[in-house]
Symmetry: C2
Subunit: 195 residues, 2 copies
DNA sequence: TATTATTGATTGACTGATCAATCAATAAAA
DNA sequence: TTTTATTGATTGATCAGTCAATCAATAATA
């Protein structure tokens, strides 16, 4: 065989290239040629390994969400109290690599794609549920379940909203300011319940 | 068939058709043929009146935002106190037609398109600024300017976030629940400042 | 060691489909 | 007749996907 065992190398290179191209482009309307060129291989090879453009894009979304998930798991392990864990979830959502313009553009593109691709939608629903349940699980330790659900709903919406607003680059909000806004939301509501 | 004075009729029909097709499709990746067919005319006529697909789509975004703007203006006029005006802004953001699945899909598509089309981006930035300034203007009557800016930022993010989460149709939130969440956000923060 | 068979990796060239855009032609009104 | 409305037919570009052919590394064989 030639350089045997190229498959995993190429698959990773193509997925990474797809992320970059999608980010640049700000949309999933990218060509296999662009992705392949970015990865330094021929378009034919991309088809050889992924079968179709859709499969390559789906794999890209999957890997992207997997990475985010890993970050969350690590951050949660490092935090001790429920309140710290809540902060950890927020911090990860806005950490540097998630907040890079290309990453934000890619997220937006994934959301749009979810309207058409059932599989992409499934991945994003899983992400949304995970975010929600991570929040609820820790809020429950601090307030009644009903309130926990409601506050989690609001916090998740705020996180996603801060994201989408970043994508317009009109009034850029810093990572710290985004974290502070979401933290304030939690604090204000938890205090309101105690008071 | 040529009845004279068809231009405004056709333009409106095509823009409305574009909205429907985009909503169905959940993306701006729609063809002139689809739009024209939906409007009951030939693709050639669409080109005749709009010159290009991009211009038709831009006009569609423009009309869409214009309608939202009109709703806001009307609602603001009907409200008296600053607090009522804040509620009016929130209510309009989630009113029935804005919350229809196709409308949400279209919004999402516009956000994604803004990554590529400078003109679409300009329109959305104007929308974002208007929402922000409507909120700030009325918050200023209830709290210090600095806090008003911060609270407006959070409320706007929450509104957009509730939108984007609706697009996934995973845990659908009712109009009332969305309004309640945003209202709670305002109330909690305003109370926190007074207390 | 030299030869050969085998096979994964890789690509250039091609195909078929799709689509935006153009244009020439026609029909109705002014 | 001149202008406006309208369309069918066509063009040119872009792309996803296919395929036959080539390359290079290994392993079996002589």
């Amino acid at each position: 065989m030639p350089k045997v065992g190229m498959e995993p190398v190429r698959r990773k290179a193509l997925v990474d290239a797809a992320m970059r191209v999608i980010g640049d482009h700000g949309s999933l309307t990218v060509t296999m040629s662009e992705i392949a060129k970015e990865a330094g291989v021929s378009p034919a090879l991309a088809h050889h390994y992924f079968g179709s453009k859709e499969q390559l894009l789906i794999e890209t979304v999957r890997v992207h969400l997997q990475r985010l998930r890993d970050s969350v798991v690590t951050a949660l392990r490092a935090a001790r109290t429920p309140r710290e864990k809540l902060s950890a979830v927020i911090r990860v959502s806005f950490q540097a690599d998630q907040f890079a313009p290309e990453t934000i553009a890619a997220w937006l593109a994934f959301y749009a794609e979810a309207q058409r691709s059932e599989e992409t939608r499934r991945f994003l629903v899983i992400y949304a549920r995970r975010l929600h349940s991570n929040l609820v699980a820790n809020l429950k330790a601090l307030c009644p379940v009903g309130d926990a659900e409601r506050i989690a709903e609001g916090a998740a919406a705020m996180i996603d909203g801060l994201y989408i607003r970043q994508s317009l680059r009109s009034a850029p909000i810093s990572t710290e300011a985004s974290i502070a806004l979401t933290e304030d939301y939690l604090t204000a509501h938890l205090n309101a319940l105690e008071g």
